[in-house]
């Protein structure tokens, strides 16, 4: 009997390490398994980092800006981007930007800007610049990047300047805050609406379900942009910027919740028939307990994925509205408001760099779409 006993011990001993790891899979909560799967999607992980960086800019745009985004200087209008260079007179140097000098063309009366290779502004980190309040309450003067020896009005414009001579780089940083947050807030509102209405629809069924489904169909059949335009055109012109901001988020959310509600309803319908839900009900769990501690956790990851995919749409929609002049209005800075400057062929031909905010929109939307797809694929940890 000794031999088999040994064998049993061996059997147990050898796979211990493996069992340990395998056991983790069996007891891991759903979100952890989702995360494990998500990590395998390399591109989505990269996009998570990109999004993190954009979110960081949105949190503290002042820190990333080089000059005051509202400081106008008509004299410095339409300066082309002063790119960072590392080669000066054929030699490799620390990154710097050339100064610019403008000359009015006597024939066309347009300012023409040329690099002034005599003046060089070397790049510096953590420099002291214009005053601001970090997160709205920490007074500070420190900025991530700056240029040594540049006077307030000569700070190199990394992405050029606009019609009023404002620094595009700094405006982009500030615009990130509004564009991203408007997307997030609008999606948050539509998620709440979607979960509540979709949940009611899916859980109760019957005529409630019918009414909500018809409402969703009606809203989805509306051409979104004309409706949004009409709604935002009806906002009083006299409203302050913050009111307009919230009104726009509500307007965007008004048509945006339907997709999420469908998703939630579908999940509810399929979960309602699952054994564990029936078991919970038979054990005598209250309705609220069945919904919130049994059903909701098993589709949270789906909701997160669907939400992530909804954010880029909202960002695009805000850009559309502001671009057409019926969304946010100056002095608010968002990517769409900035792009308004590039609304026609003439301004684009004169100053192609005015289109750069569009590049930011594309990168953000791209990152969020890939991230959302990665999350959606990972959301079903039991499928292969």
């Amino acid at each position: 009997m000794a031999a088999p006993a040994d064998a049993t011990v061996d059997d147990v001993v050898v796979p211990v390490a493996a069992v340990d790891k395998g056991a983790a899979v069996y007891v891991a909560p759903a979100w952890k398994m989702t995360w494990w799967r998500f990590r395998k999607h390399k591109l989505a992980v990269v996009c998570l980092w990109v999004f993190g960086l954009i979110a960081l800019i949105a949190l503290a745009p002042e820190f990333f800006a080089t000059s005051d985004p509202d400081a106008t200087a008509a004299r410095n209008a339409y300066i082309p981007p002063q790119t960072l260079r590392i080669v000066h007179e054929g030699r490799l140097t620390w990154p710097f930007a050339y100064g610019v000098e403008g000359q009015r063309n006597a024939r066309t009366l347009r300012m023409e800007w040329a690099n002034d290779t005599e003046t060089r502004y070397p790049l510096r980190f953590f420099v002291q610049g214009f005053e601001y309040e970090l997160f709205g309450f920490i007074p500070s003067r420190t900025h991530l990047i700056g240029f040594a020896g540049a006077a307030q009005t000569d700070i190199p414009r990394l992405l050029g300047s606009d019609r009023l001579g404002r620094d595009q780089w700094s405006r982009l940083m500030y615009g990130t805050r509004i564009s991203l947050s408007i997307g997030l807030v609008a999606v948050a509102i539509s998620t709440i609406l979607g979960i509540v209405l979709g949940g009611i629809s899916g859980y109760f069924g019957g005529w409630v379900d019918n009414v909500i489904q018809r409402l969703i169909e009606l809203l989805q059949a509306l051409p979104p942009i004309p409706i949004w335009l009409a709604l935002s055109a009806s906002l009083p012109r006299t409203w302050p910027v913050t009111w307009v901001y919230f009104a726009i988020t509500v307007i965007l959310a008004l048509l945006g919740w339907t997709r999420l509600a469908r998703e939630v309803r579908g999940r509810f319908l399929s979960l309602r028939e699952e054994d564990f839900v029936t078991a919970a009900r038979l054990v005598g769990a209250s309705r609220a307990r069945v919904i919130f501690s049994h059903m909701v956790p098993s589709f949270t990851s789906h909701i997160i994925a669907a939400t992530t995919l909804a954010i880029p749409l909202m960002i695009l929609n805000e850009t559309f509205l502001s671009f057409l002049g019926l969304g946010l209005r100056p002095p608010a800075i968002s990517w769409g408001v900035m792009l308004q400057e590039a609304q026609n062929l003439q301004s684009v031909v004169n100053a192609p760099w005015l289109m750069i905010p569009g590049l930011f929109v594309i990168i953000t939307v791209l990152a969020l779409n890939i991230l959302g797809d990665g999350l959606r694929d990972a959301a079903d940890p039991y499928s292969t």
Binding site: L222, P226, L229, L231, A233, P236, N344, G358
Partner: protein
């Protein structure tokens, strides 16, 4: 089949009623009635309307009556074919909208056809050659197409064409045809201009629909009947095109329901950027100028077009899929 179509048609008046209520609500949304603000605006400009004219307008729209009466007056005159007049342009709305509507439809339908013509082959190639170079290239292009706002694409292409070739690709007609009456030469001129807006407008949808086709076809290709056909010795391309593709593109037809409104919306923005003579820029101008009856009429037209789009998609779907047309019988 007929029963099914009849059932769908029965819903149309209800939808139209609801949409007209929505449009009317939007007209009413700005503070104050439009006539008061119009008179104020005229007074600011130094001119004024004579009292008789004001009274006529007031009674035409029933501005002194309760809101429901106003709605029925408005809806009634539209049903009679009277779209009202634009206060800003001082012309009848029907006259302003007329040709622009036709051009809007032309642009939308062309973009739709372009989308299908490009998206379906891309979807098929991506699915049959999954994880090949072509599949990856298409996937990357799809993501970029989805992320690019169509007005950005329009701006970049316009800038590129001007910068490189010195041509300005705006509008839908050459200058000599802008005001000309319709003729074959004018149609030809339209066709030589419409392709660029058509592509710009169709890109985002192409990306979306190619994804749908790819996913559906991948599902179908792994089903037993495909295996069976292959075992029977059908050539691969015929096998793919004959059975799974037919099943896989059916949902594409159903996307028409949401894709059509999306195209109309997108066309609005592209039209503003490229100064196309469609109803989009007219709506934008009406909204900015608070010319609300013109705006309301255009929004209602957008809604009606959407209803037609949905109806066509439902009927096409029933033609394609026997399960749907049997359901009603």
């Amino acid at each position: 089949m007929h029963w099914y179509i009849l059932k769908r048609l029965a819903v149309v008046p209800l939808m139209l009623f609801l949409f007209s209520v929505i449009s009317f609500t939007l007209i009413q949304a700005p503070p104050g009635d439009f006539l008061t603000s119009y008179i104020a605006e005229l007074a600011q400009g130094g001119s004024s309307l004579d009292q008789a004219h004001i009274a006529a307008l007031r009674s035409q729209y029933g501005l002194d009556k309760p809101i429901t009466t106003q709605y029925f007056l408005w809806a009634g005159s539209i049903l009679k074919g009277d779209l009202g007049i634009s206060l800003e342009w001082r012309r009848s709305n029907a006259e302003l909208i007329g040709e622009r509507l036709l051009l809007t439809l032309a642009l939308t339908v062309f973009s739709l056809l372009f989308t299908w013509a490009v998206a379906i082959p891309i979807g098929i190639i991506s699915a049959t050659r999954q994880y090949s170079v072509a599949d990856y290239v298409f996937t990357v292009l799809n993501y970029i197409g989805l992320a690019t706002p169509n007005f950005m694409l329009a701006l970049v292409l316009m800038w590129f064409a001007f910068d490189r070739f010195g041509v300005s690709v705006t509008g839908l007609f050459s200058p000599e045809f802008t005001e000309a009456p319709w003729s074959w030469a004018r149609v030809g001129d339209l066709l030589s201009h419409i392709w660029l807006p058509m592509i710009i407008l169709g890109v985002a949808g192409t990306a979306q629909i190619a994804r749908v086709v790819r996913a559906n076809l991948l599902d179908e290709l792994s089903k037993p009947y495909t295996e069976m056909a292959r075992a029977k010795g059908l050539p691969e391309w015929r096998l793919v095109l004959k059975y799974p593709t037919r099943v896989a593109i059916a949902p594409v037809v159903s996307t028409l329901g949401w894709y059509f409104p999306q195209l109309l919306s997108g066309g609005l923005v592209v039209s503003v950027v490229m100064s196309l003579p469609t109803i989009g820029p007219l709506l934008l101008r009406a909204l900015v100028g608070q010319d609300m009856y013109l705006a309301g009429t255009i929004i209602l037209i957008f809604c009606v077009l959407t209803v037609i789009g949905t109806l066509v998609s439902d009927i096409l779907l029933a033609v394609l899929d026997p399960r749907i047309r049997m359901e009603g019988a």
